[in-house]
Amino acid sequence: MTSRATVLGRIRAALADAPADTAAPLDRTYRRRHTDADNTLPLLVENLRDYRAIVHEVTPDQLPSAIADALRRRGCTRVVVPAGTPETWTADVSGIELLGDTPPLTVDQLAAADGTITGSAVAIAETGTIVLDAGPAQGRRALTLVPDYHLCVVHAADVHASVPDALGHLDPTRPLTWISGPSATSDIELNRVEGVHGPRTLEVLVVRD
């Protein structure tokens, strides 16, 4: 007998006397969201900052200069720009080498880069979370992992109040990375400290469309 058959057989035997499951749908009386629509954006900003992300709110017109300013402040010389990034985003950037990922950058090239600029799929206000789905302007997961600095653009239209709201806008077949602040740990005396293996600085540009 295969172990598959063994395990499935054990499960069926274990449940032989279990009461039948009621056909009724599960009780989902919890709330779909805990905040009002007009508070979504301020709450996202507040919660991102609470988890030590650097956050700026900009208009679409201000985005190119905000990106250029952020990279300059950071002192970047080499920055990864994923495929599908709008050219306007980097229109104001000068004196900085922009690295495309086609053909894919090696791990060493990624490690030698100062940072990565990406967009995002959705953001969740209540938890201060940004979700990347490896789509356009986001690229494969390693791009936002190996470099120590992540500059992330979030469009207001992609900001949702809650986890339940956000999940419906995400495609589970894509590899997803949910980011809530920079890399952190609670492993020393159960106190949170920021900065371990992932990017130690997360800077977010929230674009009010």
């Binding site: 499960i11 009780d27 997961r141 589970p172 949910w178 159960l190």
Partner: protein, 481 residues
């Protein structure tokens, strides 16, 4: 479970040493009280927490009731997405599968994401026997591994260590492989985290094979979910060519939408955060992104035994948040090692004896490692009635040899309570002999009188007072109100 836990003394003996270790007591108290406050604050933010908790319980119960169906669905979805699914009936089989998969890559090193399932089966030791070195990459696991120590907490395996002890371990051990700790290392948590980053960096960037667990796997999509903080998980799940995930069969949830419950319950219950810094989800293999060779090992190893127990099966709802450890007054004083298992604390006290059975003295002592105060049940995000399961397991243990004297004593007490006149006679005897009871009792009574005086029985029981004052008809003889 890991060989390192074999031969552990029963809980009370192991706890004796922990209780008398002032440094350990201090470390545990500080850490558990810190996280208690944080958890309470973020749980209070959600006014629908009881409803979320009820939904979490209901989803898990429903899934367990149809576990065979959902596992087959996971298998189909993962396979369709380019992954390979393996079934392991026990720890040995899981270890064999993983070892063979690693061998097939030709690699001798693997990086690991913190995983309770692989600790439970002793995977690192099994790999070592096969000449393969497993590198733990979670900071706390790294502290435990470098210190040649044992984990003492589900979420924070090095909770028993404070910052200065961690500094000493790093200074002493990091030079063995990877980048050594800098000579001027301080005990600032930020500095210690930085040392861990540098120490592991090269290991991550060169790793070809990773081993992980998963917090959830979604049946309808075949998606696996890993919830973490440091980015070590992302490193392991993203950079290597081969990924092997060992996941307990109880980790399945039916639908993608079900995650909306658990991704609210878990972070707030475990690290006391609205959301943990990083959550990774992946479905099979994504061309051009992440490992191109993905294996899912579905692990039983006693879980079906737990599932067969009508009362005990609720234990399988556990999402390993460790909130129950952080509020447990017994865990806080006894420490995690006393539980003799990778699963310490209240959840360990019910999970370990169900996974391993209660034949050993240690496992038989675990259901008693609780005052039944109920704090664990209150904070459990999936409403596992841990006290109920503890009492249920005690009933199993008392059926075993070694409880003859206690059983006889309980029978005798039951005989007294079966008849009020017998109770009355015992009370009068106690009242008459009360001056003869020594302050310090011999034998088992010493367990009480070593630290506490015994109450002096009154000259007259309540029922004798009532009979004297009110007569047998229950009406007051005189108005003394």
């Amino acid at each position: 479970m890991t060989g390192t836990f074999l031969g552990m003394p029963p809980f009370p003996e192991a706890a004796h040493d922990a209780v008398n270790n002032a440094q350990l007591r201090h470390n545990l108290r500080k850490a558990t009280h810190t996280i208690r406050g944080k958890r309470a604050a973020v749980v209070d933010e959600l006014d629908d927490w009881p409803q979320l908790r009820a939904a979490g319980k209901a989803i898990k119960d429903h899934t367990l009731r149809h576990l065979d169906r959902y596992l087959i669905q996971v298998e189909e979805a993962v396979t369709a997405a380019g992954g390979h699914v393996h079934w392991a009936a026990d720890a040995d089989e899981a270890n064999r599968i993983v070892t063979d998969l690693v061998r097939a890559t030709g690699e001798r090193d693997v990086v690991k994401v913190k995983s309770m399932a692989t600790q439970e089966i002793g995977l690192n030791e099994a790999l070592a026997d096969a000449g393969i070195r497993a590198y733990e990459t979670d900071l706390a696991e790294l502290i435990v591994q470098l210190g040649d120590d044992r984990p003492s907490h589900i979420l924070v395996p090095a909770i028993h260590r404070n910052r200065s002890e961690i500094r000493e371990i790093f200074l002493r051990e990091m030079a063995e492989w990877g980048e050594p700790a800098p000579a001027d290392l301080t005990d600032e948590p930020r500095v210690l985290a930085e040392a861990a980053r540098r120490h592991l960096r090269e290991r991550f960037l060169s790793a070809k094979v990773a081993v992980s667990g998963a917090n959830f796997m979604v049946a309808e999509t075949g998606t696996l979910v890993v919830v973490e903080s440091e980015g070590n998980g992302r490193m392991c799940l993203t950079l290597p060519e081969t990924l092997i995930s060992v996941v307990g069969i109880e980790k399945v949830v039916p639908t993608w939408a079900d995650l909306e419950v658990f991704l609210q319950l878990l972070p707030r219950s475990s690290t006391g955060e609205r959301m943990n810094p990083y959550t990774s989800t992946w479905t099979g293999v994504t061309p051009g992104d992440g490992p191109q060779d993905f294996h899912l090992v579905l692990l039983d190893n006693g879980r079906t035994h737990v599932l067969a127990d009508e009362v005990g099966r609720q234990t399988l709802r556990c999402i390993r948040c460790s909130a129950c450890l952080n509020v447990c007054p017994v865990y806080e004083r006894a420490g995690g090692h006393a539980y003799g298992s990778v699963y310490p604390g209240p959840i360990g006290a019910i999970l370990t004896p169900q996974l391993r059975g209660t034949a050993s003295a240690l496992d038989a002592s675990l259901p008693y490692a609780s005052s039944l105060c109920g704090a664990c049940y209150d904070v459990c995000p999936v409403a596992i009635d841990i006290p109920e399961v503890l009492v249920h397991l005690r009933e199993q243990v008392t059926e075993q040899p070694g409880h003859r004297a206690e059983r006889a004593a309980m029978k005798a007490a039951g005989w007294v309570f079966a008849d009020p006149s017998r109770l009355s006679r015992v009370q009068r005897l106690a009242g008459h002999t009360r001056r003869l009871i020594p302050k310090r009792l011999p034998g088992p009574g010493a367990a009480w009188t070593d630290t506490r005086n015994i109450p002096e029985p009154p000259a007259q029981s309540f029922r004798d007072w009532w009979a004297q004052e009110r007569g047998s008809d229950g009406s007051p003889r005189r108005d003394d109100a």
